[in-house]
């Protein structure tokens, strides 16, 4: 691997570098994924642009309306330990705390985690269940993208080559909402999930389910929104959960690997979605 490393101090400088080097440039936040991919020869950029010295990309801050903004270069561990993030939703910090080991979480950063688009990662399903939007900048301007529309395939996003993820914005959580993140780890505690489930749910005053978002990790080419389950439960009493769970098997699209056969993962997706929903309907 042979490349030039750039470490711009401002977003404008980073965008100018991206424009100059085009698809010969690769952005790097914490570097956990980029270093491995380059070492394995899967990534051979001529220019690596490090984002960690850019002030505008830092920080975890509550928004004025009661939501939360997480900067692209916040480490996963900074989110895990952030009192503001914990205050926003304990499920959010739980999900970040379940990534690999403390060493990885000290290095890996939120923007890189999203851009890497690894479907087995923990933060994306949780952020999707919390209805996050991704803030994106390029020299052409800025835009916000619902996080559901970021990952489009294994390790592939909808980002254009001149775009940088600047952060993630989480909307305020509605009163009475509950959230959870569960990760099924049959092998070792630092492994990728066999299946993970992020769920949020809010009851209406009459005791029916007003709204739920269910997002599964590691069982498809991207995080999978279980929309048919969500639709089946909206307006229904929690007693309908058992029937709705039968729909999970057909929502997911897992592959056979060391963490289980596709058939096993489909079944575990149903079981662990049931456990997640039990937590948020209890």
């Amino acid at each position: 691997m042979t490349f030039d490393y750039h470490e711009p101090r401002s977003l404008a400088e980073a965008l100018a570098l991206l424009d100059r080097y085009g698809d010969d440039a690769h952005l790097m936040a914490g570097g956990t994924a980029t270093v491995l991919l380059m070492r394995q020869g899967l990534l051979r950029p001529g220019h690596v642009i490090g984002l960690r010295a850019i002030d505008d990309l830092r920080g975890i801050t509550p928004t004025r309306d009661g939501g939360l903004r997480i900067g692209a270069t916040a480490t996963l561990r900074a989110v895990e330990r952030s009192p503001e993030a914990r205050m926003y939703s304990p499920a959010l910090t739980d999900a970040f705390a379940s990534v690999a080991t403390v060493r990885i979480r000290n290095q890996a950063m939120v923007g890189g985690n999203l851009a890497h688009a690894d479907p087995a990662q923990d933060p994306p399903p949780m952020l999707a269940a919390l209805n996050a939007t991704v803030s994106i900048r390029s020299s052409r301007g800025e835009r916000s993208l619902p996080i559901d529309e970021l990952a489009v395939d294994h390790f592939t996003t909808s980002l254009a080559h001149d775009e940088i993820i600047t952060g993630v914005v989480l909307p305020p959580i509605e009163p009475g909402s509950r959230e959870t993140y569960l990760k099924f780890l049959p092998k070792t505690a630092d492994d990728y999930a066999t299946v993970s489930v992020a769920a949020t749910l809010r009851f209406a005053p009459d005791g029916t389910i007003a709204e739920t978002r269910i997002v599964l990790g590691a069982v498809g080419p991207t995080p999978i929104r279980a929309r048919r389950v969500e639709d089946a439960l909206r307006g229904q009493p929690p007693s309908r959960v058992r029937d709705a769970l039968e729909l999970v098997r057909d929502e997911v699209d897992p592959i056979d690997d060391l963490r289980g056969s596709a058939a096993y993962k489909r079944e575990m997706a149903r079981v662990w979605t049931g456990r997640a929903l039990a937590r948020v309907t209890r």
């Binding site: 490349f3 030039d4 490393y5 750039h6 470490e7 080991t101 403390v102 060493r103 990885i104 290095q107």
Partner: protein
């Protein structure tokens, strides 16, 4: 390939050197600075043998671009003992916290980071934190006992050994 001037301290000693963009911290520590206590195990950030502290934060030196070390304070196993062993090092010896020793530098660094963040960790906290440092000899019991023994006594002289 671009090269970069780095200035950092390793175990209290200042180093200034020029590195290529693709160098990793583990290579610079071992090959350029000659501090070979830190081991390269899996080389993919999983096994923990290359655990180091960067400004007190626990990181895998095998995954860290060397350019990230500029301006930082790095501590490896060589930097733990001053005149005497630390209470943690002493406890590893007394409690059988190692056998072949290849993982021990990483175990000590990881446990040092744990105790500086959580001075009195319970079983669960020790196991959760140390889970990323693999050991093929001890079955982990001696390591856990050693950390428990050392917890809460940071800063005191180790007891005399027999």
């Amino acid at each position: 390939m671009s090269t970069h001037r780095l200035s950092f301290t390793l175990n209290g000693t200042k180093h200034e050197l020029e590195v290529a963009a693709d160098r990793l911290l583990i290579e610079v520590i071992r090959d350029d600075c000659g501090a070979t206590g830190t081991k390269l195990g899996c080389a993919v950030g999983v096994c923990g043998a290359c655990s180091v502290l960067v400004d007190g934060e626990l990181l895998s030196a095998c995954l860290l671009p060397a350019v990230f070390a500029d301006g930082r304070r790095i501590t490896t196993v060589e930097g733990l003992a001053k005149n005497d062993l630390t209470p943690l090092q002493d406890a590893f010896i007394r409690e059988g916290g190692f056998q072949c020793g290849i993982c021990t530098p990483g175990q000590l660094i990881a446990a040092t980071a744990l105790l500086s963040e959580q001075p009195r960790p319970d079983h669960e906290a020790i196991r959760t934190w140390m889970m990323g440092n693999l050991c093929r000899c001890t079955g982990y019991y001696g390591i856990e006992r050693a950390i428990q023994k050392a917890s809460g006594v940071g800063g005191q002289s180790p007891p005399n050994r027999l």
